[in-house]
Symmetry: C2
Subunit: 207 residues, 2 copies
């Protein structure tokens, strides 16, 4: 990603910002938080260590900024309007090798670098969790899930199934394979796209 | 764990075996695979590095032996005879801070130390998976799960819910809290201890 250009001369300030965050994200994915150092990030970004330290006082704050930048794109939340849409999003993540490695690195950082996980949850998890909860409530009310379904329990189960998929399946997993896995998961959770769970004995609607 | 005694003199061979594996497990839980070194293990075990290297040619083989030792106790598999028994086992793990940290470290090692995870799966995962699969099949056949339940999907969902619990709940989680979480999970998966899913129109049994 342009490392050669950068190495040829000292990047200007804005360019250095981007180069540092790109290099830090690459290294975090390749090596994890523990094995990544400010020195390596500076070298890969083609800047001096001082250039990095002027922006971030330590590795943790550098990595937090890296995760924030990685998940800062405007969220297409209004588009997540039903379970099929959510499914498409999860399939995209589970069939993208780089996303898979990034998420495993985030899980691996829980123990020693909780700040990274908090940054991720703040930007991505919590914001989306509210949207997803509403989607699941509507799906339940339409009879796509059993009437006693608890949206937060379903969300934890789907996210957990994602962790398990990241742990046991190869990163070469295709979108079709990821979708098959997730459809089996949703089926076991009671999801029926055809609204199967609608109460058969609803009070008759006034004509 | 007896570190003072060990430091006082060179432990004998058998004692050194145990001291090395104990120290390696402690360090793996405290720091993870990446940040653990043979030198640290030797120091904490009160032995020389040469004593460690005589047994294990490198850190990876030392850590694999450590995981094998941690999960090598004879498994009480015949006791896992129904879902309630399995639940008890999972509650024990999820409410034990040391087990929680060990499992998170194992997940964190997937990327760079897959050998550790394979050792764990070989000793613990696969062996138990077969037993658990049979338990789930019997439970389904008794009407405790919906008739179209796929045991492997349920297992992935429960293990995944475990990863998620380890990620989002404090290690001070009590057994009662872990049980509440897992019962909600099992309920969403369709588990009904009372055999609720039994087909109401079975062919009459000859009298």
């Amino acid at each position: 990603m342009g490392t050669d250009d950068r190495a040829a001369g000292r990047p200007r300030s804005r360019e250095a910002d981007v180069a540092i965050l790109d290099a830090a994200l690459d290294l975090f994915i390749e090596r994890g938080a523990e094995a990544t150092s400010v020195e390596q990030v500076a070298r890969r970004a083609g800047v001096t260590r001082a250039t990095v330290y002027r922006r971030y006082p330590d590795k943790i704050r550098l990595l937090v900024a890296t995760i924030e930048a990685a998940y800062a794109e405007p969220l297409p939340t209004p588009e997540i309007d039903d379970v099929e849409h959510m499914l498409t999003g999860w399939v995209t993540v589970l069939s993208d090798p780089r996303q898979r490695r990034l998420l495993r690195r985030l899980y691996g950082a829980i123990e020693d670098y909780p700040e990274l996980v908090h940054a991720y949850q703040r930007l991505f998890g919590q914001q989306r969790a509210q949207v997803r909860r509403s989607v699941l409530e509507r799906a339940r009310d339409r009879g796509q899930f059993p009437a006693d379904t608890v949206p937060d329990v379903v969300l934890n189960l789907i996210i957990g199934a994602g962790w398990q998929h990241l742990a046991i399946h190869a990163d070469s997993c295709t979108a079709a394979e990821a979708e098959k896995f997730l459809r089996a998961v949703l089926h076991q959770l009671g999801y029926r796209p055809d609204g199967h769970h609608h109460q058969p004995f609803e009070p008759p609607v006034k004509q």
